[in-house]
Symmetry: C2
Subunit: 291 residues, 2 copies
DNA sequence: AAAGCGATTTAGATCGATCTAAAAACGACG
DNA sequence: CGTCGTTTTTAGATCGATCTAAATCGCTTT
């Protein structure tokens, strides 16, 4: 008589016995191989149902040397922009049968490296990564050393050669400037500038290009501060001296939302006194607009 | 001469050979067992470094029958509220060495069930789940059948007995009403009502309790519509007939943001003409408030 | 009846770790 | 020097699937 805490998980061997076939045949049925005869297939299927068999992917993975798992390494899970990204990845996975590990680097290259190693130990088939601010080529070296296939999203380590899925931020900003110019705005200020990663650089560069192209007033950039904020006193200074800004292009929608706050205090009516353009198209950003 | 696509991954056996010990000893070193003599431990460590050994958790998991992985099943990844939740879980995991699979049920019980089975096949140690709208006791039955330990978050299947981590939504709403009453608001309307899941019911019940308790005007609830919206014409009807509402409590912050839109159209000044209370404390919700 | 051939089925090795139970090494001691 | 008690090391089984190479079955063909 054997003691058993758990009801001794049903393995493929148990199924095979129950169906009166070998482990190998049962395995073939699992994988819908055309090699098995129809009656046999049904017998095995019935046995699986009877015993409540649960496929053990872990065991299969060990043998097959792939896992059907992907690591999703994000620089800041809390940013709602990434929520949509994650939802999209999940949808694709649901169709293909893969599944994601999620990991937050929280903009720390050290944590990022720790997470990557952990994912590697779990034998993920590959990585989708938005590199943390401050990541450099050592990230790429590490990925190569670990033999991890990867795709970068949104940001890009310079000279990394691998695949990148991103947004043409520069072009987007240029189009925004063009639109504002068409609305007769001339004194456009950029709010929330950074140079910390490729996606931020691309925006600033696009802005500078557009300003020059349209021959607009060159106003100082208002730098980003902390998570979703910007240097308010710098913006105040712009309002109180020199040519008054009449429009803003914001680094992203969160910055834009914060800017509303500021404009409210100055009693500027958004859309008429002052135009605001954000970036990301968050659903929430629609709320404060006027009809 | 053997052909090898990959450099034939270094296994523990290779490390053991390199260090001149047995597989068992090398394994003990991996797990920092006190059984190994210091010089041996160092020899093995050196061998690991020299060969670039990578721990294969998959193999270990098979033997140990646990994986150090958790399934995080969310009802709607796109809701920014869950971003914070995910970030918190990730932080705890980073400390404990665990890691999360992420899965989105997208408020579909069928997709939810599919995801749960997938997670089970990957041998997750347990589940953190926010049940999709429409989930009932069959969800609990399925989890039990699969022998999956679970914690429910934010929502709760009635009669589920398991652990739940949630928010006292009813109390929160009651406190909001009390606050509004203290600000001399009397005609408070609830915007975005639903009865589809426990967290929604709790809010509505809390609201009703508070209204009765303070003897306030009983105004019809404004129902939720679709993702983050509410029935606008119902709200319009309230404004145009009977006692005029002077405050709103919103189902959540996203509804509140949407409500600003509406109030702007009616040229109501928020905070003076009309008070708005949201729920969730999203950072973005701070943006449109006035100082 | 033996041979041949395609269709099925299977025994046994294998993936890379952990676990158990036992062996080996080492000192101390009588 | 043999015995005993630690301390350290190890051989071999094991987890549950997949893969390879070979065996077996059913029929037809000669």
């Amino acid at each position: 008589m054997k003691k058993s805490v758990h009801p001794a998980a049903v393995s493929l061997l148990a199924v095979a016995k129950e169906a009166g076939v070998s482990r190998a045949t049962a395995s073939l049925v699992l994988r819908d191989s055309p090699l098995v005869a129809e009656p046999t297939r049904e017998r095995v299927r019935a046995a699986m149902a009877r015993l409540g068999y649960i496929y053990n992917r872990g065991a299969a993975n060990l043998r097959q040397n792939r896992t059907g798992t992907i690591g999703l390494v994000l620089s800041n899970i809390a940013n709602p922009f990434f929520s949509s990204l994650t939802a999209g990845v999940d949808e694709a996975n649901d169709a293909s049968g893969a599944i994601c590990f999620i990991a937050n680097s929280a903009e720390s290259p050290e944590k990022q490296s720790r997470q990557i190693r952990r994912l590697r130990e779990h034998n993920v088939d590959g990585l989708i990564i938005c590199p943390a601010i401050g990541s450099d080529h050592t990230l790429i070296d590490e990925l190569r050393l670990l033999a991890l296939p990867y795709v970068q999203v949104l940001r890009e380590i310079p000279g990394s050669e691998g695949d990148v899925v991103s947004v043409d931020y520069g072009l987007g900003i240029e189009q925004a400037v063009a639109y504002l110019v068409a609305m007769n705005r001339r004194n456009i200020v950029f709010v929330g500038a950074m140079e910390t990663h490729s996606a931020a650089q691309a925006r600033v560069e696009g802005f500078r290009r557009a300003i020059r192209h349209f021959g607009l007033a060159e106003m100082p950039l208002v730098e980003a501060m902390g998570g979703n904020g910007y240097n308010e006193s710098a913006l105040d200074a712009l309002f109180d001296s020199g040519p008054r800004p009449d429009a803003a292009i914001c680094y992203n929608d969160l910055i834009a939302l914060t800017l509303f706050h500021h404009l409210g205090r100055r009693a500027l009516k958004i859309g008429t006194d002052f135009a605001v353009v954000g970036m990301d198209d968050l659903p929430q950003a629609k709320a404060p607009t006027l009809p």
